[in-house]
Symmetry: C2
Subunit: 315 residues, 2 copies
């Protein structure tokens, strides 16, 4: 297992710079008053393809040799990673195949195709997905880019907090949502090297709290099929992300479904930005843990903005 | 009738600078491709109190003498003007009374109160509103600040396009939604003086097209009770705004309810910003008039972001 390093992050940053935004940091006086903290929202919902995953995907795609690249890239994802890998492959002009269950939302399939990628459908089961994916790779020779358990992807996500600490001075803590742990691992990579005094928190839906339970148990616990409105956070930790979480995260905090939806509405209403339920989990945990966050300067990573406007969780 | 001048706009800009944001200008490659134009969205949804009306209200409030200010300000509005007047009065620390029908949405009453203003309820009829308002003014001696037919308010709104032409070079046109005409009048004031080559368009719901009909008829036509999803745009032109519209607007374009909602969803989905239905009318008219806008650099004023998330127009 290769653990990505600070040098990998620095290389990633130079490599992906032409293909990703340096996203803005927004603040809200009202949310500061509500939480007693000073919050700095790093808006990856305004990132290319609408999610931070454009960073890791671009790093993987643009790090390939021409020979590798010619065969294209492939992944399995019905979420932002598939869309973002398609985006990055499109920018390099190489093929991208995304395997997703035929039950995935039409909008997700359209998003992959919108950037020029190919969608191959499987049955919803893990075994079908793996079989179909193996076939795709066998046929194309495409490079597999895992959504998060991949050093190239983590080094790419790590560029986000490198920007954040340049944009905001004197942060006491940074908090990001945790699913598979790609963003949290990237945050650990950067901050443990460049700003080790900043505490790193992860925020997770109580309904899918496998990372929090892993953290307390000291080994990876994977849930079978957690159900949460924060649908980007259902996947489990893997070896590489577990390494970073175990070594650098101060705590993993959880929020209920109602708390997540309430925080999401607060951000939409007060900050006038569209973001995903997953991205609201950090604020939900900040609101309920004033003992940790009050009086602190806190970076909050808004991970993505690709939400189905026809199925908002409060309707 | 006093017509506000460029000097009034310049004085307003200095006066309100501590109380309003210089709002950002956002762009979207996808929306440029869709329309064939280069669009520059001036994001007043990110303005203080969530709407451009914070500009005019702040100019009126901070232009009062201390003696006038001590008696406070008053208005009738169940929309953003009431909220923004309350915001400005709160910043100056003076009383603000807003008369609105008891049928107005609770969120609107809460917004006024949230900034420290007082809500006085009337019956929904115009006669009741006027009677209640007269009583408020008689009791308090408060200064009446009309939502748009007021030179102080128009001079304040005019600061928006003064920023826009500093932020974006070489605009061919600017388009803003039109209801009472306050924003459009402010735009006319600034551009006719500082950038007379920029064409000014107004965008209106077809269901409340009294301004478009006024423009063609050559005199003010006021509708009785138009019904449109763009609820900020139901009010009619008045003498002062008619002056600017008549003299400086190139055309008033209209869009159907469906076109407005479609444009609103496009902006939410692609630009990840929350804005009101009224603010989507310009994009709706740009999409349907490529003969006017294709190939042009167009400033698009996103007027406000105070939307009821529980009653989105596509749900």
């Amino acid at each position: 297992m290769y653990i990505p390093t600070l040098e990998d992050m620095i290389a990633a940053r130079a490599r992906i710079e032409p293909y990703v935004h340096r996203t803005p940091v927004l603040t809200s006086r009202m949310l500061n008053e509500l939480t007693g903290a000073e919050l700095f929202f790093k808006c990856e919902n305004l990132q290319k393809a609408g999610a931070f995953k454009a960073r890791g995907a671009s790093n993987a795609v643009f790090g390939l040799t021409d020979e590798q690249a010619a065969k294209g890239v492939a992944t399995h994802s019905s979420g932002n990673h598939g869309t973002c890998l398609s985006y990055a492959a499109g920018r390099r002009g190489i093929p991208c195949t995304v395997v997703m269950p035929h039950t995935a939302p039409q909008a997700k399939k359209d998003a992959v195709r919108g950037y020029g990628g190919r969608v191959v459908e499987s049955e919803p089961s893990t075994s079908s997905r793996e079989a179909v994916f193996a076939e795709v790779v066998a046929q194309t020779g495409a490079e597999f880019v895992h959504p998060y358990n991949d050093p190239r992807v983590i080094a790419g996500q790590a560029t986000c907090s490198a920007e954040l600490i340049e944009q905001v001075e004197g942060l006491d803590a940074v908090i990001a949502p945790i699913g598979g742990g790609g963003m949290v691992s990237g945050t650990c990579l950067t901050l443990s090297n460049l700003a080790p005094s900043i505490k790193i928190y992860a925020a997770e839906p109580l309904n899918a709290d496998d990372a929090a339970r892993s953290f307390r148990a000291g080994h990876i616990i994977a849930d079978d099929a957690p159900d949460t409105v924060a649908d980007g956070l259902k996947v489990p930790l893997k070896e590489l992300t577990w390494h970073f979480v175990q070594n650098h995260v101060t705590d993993i905090l959880t929020a209920t479904e109602d708390e997540i939806v309430e925080a999401m509405k607060l951000i939409w209403k007060r900050m006038k930005i569209v973001m995903e339920p997953s991205s609201a989990v950090p604020l939900a945990t900040i609101i309920k843990n004033p003992d940790i966050f009050a009086g602190q300067r806190v970076g909050v990573i808004i991970t993505g903005g690709n939400v189905d406007l026809d199925k908002l969780p409060w309707n």
